[in-house]
Every structure is written in C-alpha cells, then in structure tokens.
C-alpha cells in the first residue's frame, strides 16, 4: 500500500487543475463531487497507507521514502521530488486529510450560493496538495515549495471575495507578513546548503549532528532563522498581526488554513528540524519564550473581541503558542498531540461559527447574536463540545489531555521553568474565559437575531464527526494515570527526541493536573458569574478598563506600531522615490543630450554668413590653442 503514497498529494493537485480548467462549465453538483471527492479519496488512501505503515512496526525505526523523479541536477545540487513517510509526517497527513475532507464537505453547502464555486474548490484543493507536499517533502527545497504553495493559497483564499477592498488588503497583509518569515527560512536553507552540502532533511540532520558542535553560533543562527520562518507562518509574536485580519476569507478557509493546517506548519518545521534546535539551547529557549508570550498576549486580545471569528483567530494564535511552548521545552510529541486535538476542535469551532454566521445573514458581531441555543441545537451542542475541548475541560475532552500534558511538561522538563508553567496556566485561565464568553454571548441570553436557516447534512455531518473527534481524540495518547499507554507519544518518539525531565521535578504530576483542571473550570465559572451578574459590563465601562479594552482589542497595538515603524516610513520612502532616485541620473543624461541637440539645431539655420562666422571662430580657437599651448 505504501507505494500509493504519491497519489495522496497528487489527487488534490489533479482536482485543482481540473477545476481550474473546466470548473466554469461544470454544474455545481459535479464541482462539489470533484472538489470534496478528491480530498475524500485522499483521506481514505491516507488511512490505508497508515495501516500498512503501522503494520511495519516490527522494525522500530521504519521510514518509507518514495522518489518520484529527479527535480534538477546541477553541480552537486540534485534535489529530487521524493516523499518521506515517517511517524511524524504520517500523523500530520492523517489529520490534514481527514480535517480537509470534512471541511470540503462542509464547504459544498456553505459556498453553494457563491458565484465562484469552482474557483473556491480549485484553490482549496491546491491548498491541500501544497500542504501535503510540505509535510511529506523529503528535502528542504520541496518543503519550501509546499511552504510557498500554502502561502499562495492562503493569500488567494483570504482575498476570495476580492470585490471588497479590505479583503484584498487583508490578503496582502497576510502574504507580506508571512513573507518576512519565509525570507528567513530561505536564508536558513542557504546556510544549510553551503555548510552541509545537502538539502535532504535526513542527511542534513545527520551532518549537522556530526559537524556542528552543540551551542555553536552557526547552529544557533540557522535554528533562529528557521524559527523566524516558523513564527511567520504560525502567526506567533512578533509576526502574529496577519492572522486576525485573515478572517476576511470565507469561514471554511479560516477553519482549514488558519486554524487546522497551514498555521501549524511552523510547528511541523521545528519538530522536523529538531536536531538543529537541540544543537542550540538558546534557540530552543527562544521557541519556548515566544510560545509562552504569544499564548498570554493573544489570550488577552481574544477576551475583548466582538467578532466571533476574531476570537477564534486569537485563540488559534494562543493555542499555537502552546505548541511552541511544548517544542521549546523539548516535549516534541506533546506539541504534535496538541496540533492534532487543536485541528479537531478549532476546525469544529470555526465550522460552528460559520453555521451561526450563515444563519444570521452574515452577522459577525457576537453582541448582536444571542439565544441561538434553542434555534440551532445541533450547532449549539457541537460548538459547546468544541469550546469545552478548547478550554480543556478535564477528563472528557481531547483538549484537556493535550494541553495538560504541555502545561505539566513546561514545568517538569529539564528546559522548563516555573515561569513558563505560570504563563501556560494563566493562558489556560484566559482560554476558558474567552471561549465561554463567546459561547455565552452567542448561544445564551436574549434572542437578538433569528436564525433564518438550518444547516443541511453536508454542514452538520462534519460538525458531528469533529465533535466526536474533539472528545475521543484524546484517547490516542491517554497517559498512564488514566489507564492509557501514551500510544501517540510512543509512536512519535521513533522520529522525535524523547522528553527529558528535570531531576526532582517529576513528582506530584497528579496535583499539577488537578490544579490545571481547576484553573480551566474556574475560568469558565468566573466568566459565567461576571456575565450573569452584569459585572462584565460594569467593569468594561470604567475609563481605565476602556483604555485597556481598546489596547487589547487592537491586538496590543502591534498593528499601530508596525504602521509607525515600518509601513509609514516605507510609504514615505516610496513617495520620495516615486520617480526612482537612481533614474534621475539617466533622465538627466537624456535631457542633457536633448538640450545639446537643440543647441546644435539652432546653429543650422541656413544662413551662410553665420556658417562663416562659425568657421572663422573655430579657426581662431584652434590657431589660438596651437599658438598659446
């Protein structure tokens, strides 16, 4: 079965190509079948590949590499188009294809009224193909191709409704901000190739371990550049500003690209290049600190948003912060575990939000919703499950198992510290608060806007499946305390370094778990009390709170800061340089020669006498020169 691996990324590409070329002529039903079907078959195939891969467990470090063709071969630089399947990429493609299929299925109904139905599916399929290329790539060049491919699709789909100028603005912003990270990643790849002479990921890791001493500057620089690439793609501090604006795209796009898959590419990149990060403790610490800072900062911003999708966007930034924190403390498999559960519950929340938005005629403001619990029971219950999973409600949700693991490991890791733990636990409190603020505003309270339509089965089924996964997803990595065997961690430890605990800290895990659970439940209770007793409005009306509110609302003023420091000086320079300063020299040259031409033309006036004068003066000058010099 493993030989079929190449079909997995090829199918969405084929679907995309077909839809792009013939989409306009096809009926909507055929477009839906093609668009969702190609990804569906992909998901099935991935399942089959996974079964046969896990069947090879006899050999412990089994990986499968499939070389499709040689891309180019110049002077010792010969990257091939080859796919690499190991435990890490297998988990990634399983989650990606499954969630992508569910979201495509949902989109078949969600986008049915849109004029550009086929364009939507062509771009979505292109995205899935690029994402699978990114994850399955055997060398960094192919990975970079996929990396840019998903960036392109993100740009295209954020600006899907390009009729509105601000959607185009949001798309450009996302593209340009992530470009900063992509450039850093490209430089990292140049360094890797010039120093290690290869771009094949496996070879690079071996060569780096052999040639670069631990803590050497070159390893640190490379790891930091890779980190910058990951930070841009995964919307972490300080490049997080594009993600909230990226919500301008259709909701399924936000669910697929800006929650479940693309934004976690940074996490995948760091996990994939773990050897380089292990060589550089400073870079690894930077990963943890960035993650911890991001999860708290984004949590505060999520707490004050009005737009339901922006809450979810900040929540995504915050949850990826958890993943970065996990990577930074060396809990590699915990990060991938959280990626998996996050893909399930965040996709579920986005799709639920999409149902709500569609039912209330495109209303995004939560303060204008309310009381939808009775009107849309299915959406309410599945959304509630997603919210519980996001808030890490203990024992029953998948989010609890993954997030609790990260919080615990932030403390007990050899690289962990109390501060990282405190940030994580505080982030957990914020998560519960903003999540249930969203749930309470949308589904409880007085009915403000009637739900005009109910989702049909293509929209309901993904909600149900994702709700089940948001609860059952935790079972794959049930820790020993709960009678599980940490199956996912064991599986991933084949390819990722194992976790190192600090001596003396690995005690009282149960107590820490209970405390984390209390904090997340406490957050839910706290926001419930605040909202019910009208304290929330009272607090938010005091002037100091208002200032803080608007500060958090604008995402800690990062947009304004970048506007001031980067955008406006650049715009000013561009205005100054409108006619191209260097071009002045060349335009001057041409102006000079034109003036000369004009002057010479004036002498050619047809009067014999002035010619004579010219000759006489010329002769006088030449003779004068001959005599006096």
């Amino acid at each position: 079965m493993l030989e079929l691996l190449w079909i997995i990324p090829a199918l969405p590409f084929a679907g995309s190509l077909f839809l792009a070329l013939l989409g306009r002529k096809l009926p909507r039903r055929a477009i839906a079948c093609l668009g969702a079907g190609s990804v569906g078959i992909c998901a099935l195939l991935t399942g089959l590949v996974a079964i046969s891969f896990i069947g090879h467990t006899s050999s412990h470090s089994f990986t499968y590499t499939q070389t499709l063709w040689s891309w180019l071969d110049v002077a010792g630089f010969g990257p091939s188009v080859s796919l690499h399947l190991d435990a890490l990429s297998l988990v990634m493609i399983l989650v990606i294809t499954l969630v992508s299929f569910l979201i495509h299925l949902y989109s078949t109904e969600f986008m049915i009224g849109d004029a550009d139905y086929s364009r939507f599916f062509a771009q979505m399929n292109l995205f899935v193909g690029s994402m699978l290329t990114l994850v399955l790539a055997d060398n960094f060049l192919l990975l970079y191709l996929g990396w840019e491919g998903v960036g392109l699709c993100s740009y295209l789909l954020i600006g899907f409704w390009y009729g509105e100028p601000q959607n185009g603005y949001a798309a450009r912003k996302a593209f340009i901000v992530t470009r900063v990270g992509d450039t850093a990643l490209a430089i990292a790849l140049f360094i890797i190739f010039t120093h290690l002479g290869t771009l094949r990921i496996g070879e690079v890791m071996l060569a780096a371990r052999d040639t670069w001493p631990a803590g050497s500057p070159i390893a640190t620089v490379t790891a930091l550049l890779l980190l910058a690439g990951a930070v841009g793609k995964s919307a972490q501090l300080p490049l997080q500003t594009w993600l909230p604006d990226a919500m301008a795209g259709p909701t399924p796009v936000s669910a697929l690209i800006h929650a479940a898959t693309m934004v976690t590419a940074g996490v995948y990149l760091i996990a994939r290049t773990n050897v380089l990060f292990m060589l550089s403790p400073a870079a690894l610490t930077a990963v943890a600190v960035i993650g911890a800072a991001t999860l708290v900062v984004a949590g505060f911003s999520g707490l004050v948003q009005h737009d339901i999708k922006r809450v979810l966007a900040y929540s995504t930034i915050s949850q990826i912060g958890y993943m970065f924190l996990a990577l930074g403390v060396g809990a590699w498999s915990a990060a991938i575990f959280h990626f998996m559960t996050h893909a399930f519950f965040k996709a579920l929340l986005f799709l639920g939000a999409g149902c709500v938005i569609a039912a209330t005629d495109g209303e995004h403001d939560m303060f204008k919703m309310g009381g939808l619990r009775k009107q849309m029971p299915l959406v309410f219950w599945t959304f509630l499950i997603g919210a519980c999973s996001l808030s890490a409600v203990p024992l029953i949700t998948a989010g609890f198992y993954s997030k609790d693991l990260i919080i615990w490991k932030a403390y007990c890791s050899a690289r962990g510290s109390v501060w990282l733990w405190a940030a994580a636990i505080f982030g957990s409190l914020l998560t519960s608060m903003y999540t249930f603020r969203m749930v309470l505003l949308t589904f409880f309270g007085p009915l403000r806007k009637n739900a005009t339509k109910r989702p049909g089965w293509p929209m309901s089924l993904p909600l149900v499946v994702l709700a089940v996964l948001s609860i059952a997803g935790g079972l794959v990595d049930l820790p020993k305390n709960f009678g599980g065997g940490s199956a996912l961690t064991k599986f991933l430890t084949r390819d990722l370094p194992s976790f190192v605990t600090a001596p003396g800290r690995a005690v009282h895990q149960g107590m820490f778990g209970v405390f984390a659970a209390c904090v997340s439940l406490g957050g839910i209770l706290l926001i419930e009390l605040l909202m019910r007793s009208r304290m929330y409005e009272k607090i938010s009306e005091s002037p100091r709170a208002k200032a803080l509110h608007s500060f958090w609302f604008s995402g800690w003023g990062f947009d304004r800061l970048y506007d001031l420091v980067l955008v406006s000086p650049y715009a000013m320079l561009a205005r100054i340089n409108r006619d191209d300063v260097i071009d002045y020299f060349y335009t001057g040259l041409s102006r000079l020669s034109r003036q000369g031409w004009r002057g010479l033309c004036a002498t050619e006036n047809g009067r014999v006498r002035s010619f004579v004068l010219g000759i006489a003066l010329g002769a006088a000058i030449i003779i004068g020169l001959a005599v006096f010099l």
Partner: protein, 101 residues
C-alpha cells in the same frame, strides 16, 4: 628682408580680415564671392612673402595652386549664383536659407 616680410605679412593679415569682414557683413552673394577672393589673395600674398624670405620656390607654387583653385571655385560659384538668380530672383544669402545648408 625680414622687415619687409613682416610688413607684407601685416598687409596680408589686413587684407584677410577685410575679406573676412566683407563675407560676414555683405549679404549680396556676388560681394561675398569678391571678399572670398580677397581672402584667397591675402593667403597667397603670405605664401609668396614666406617663399621670398627663405628663398624657396614653395611659396610661389602654393600661390599658383591658390589661383587655380580660386578660378575653379569662381566658375562653380558663378554658376550657382546664376542658378540662384534664375530660380529665386534674389541675390541675398540671408533670404535664401530655404536649403538649410
């Protein structure tokens, strides 16, 4: 001898500039040709004086050259003057600038 040569050269220079001024100032093409003849002869006179100073025949050879060249020039120039008069009915060079040459 040298002193005479000096005087002759001054005379030649005076004649040359008179001719030049004549070319620059007169607008009638016939008078311009006359002035050019004066300039030729001024140059010829300078050659002859120089030839006498060094007792060499070169100066007189150059003078014969100049005279023959002047004759050729005058024959062409007078033909042109006739054509000009014939076609444009004028002899004013400034008015006849339509050739732009």
């Amino acid at each position: 001898m040298t002193r005479i040569v000096g005087h002759v050269l001054i005379l030649a220079a005076v004649l040359f500039f008179l001719g030049l001024i004549g070319v620059l100032v007169r607008r009638n093409i016939v008078f311009m040709l006359l002035s050019i003849e004066i300039m030729f002869n001024a140059a010829g006179l300078a050659f002859v004086a120089a030839g006498a100073r060094w007792a060499k025949p070169d100066g007189q050879i150059m003078f014969i050259f100049i005279v023959s060249m002047a004759a050729a020039e005058v024959s062409v120039a007078l033909a042109l003057v006739l054509q000009m008069h014939h076609r444009l009915k004028i002899l004013d060079t400034d008015a006849a600038k339509s050739l732009r040459g």
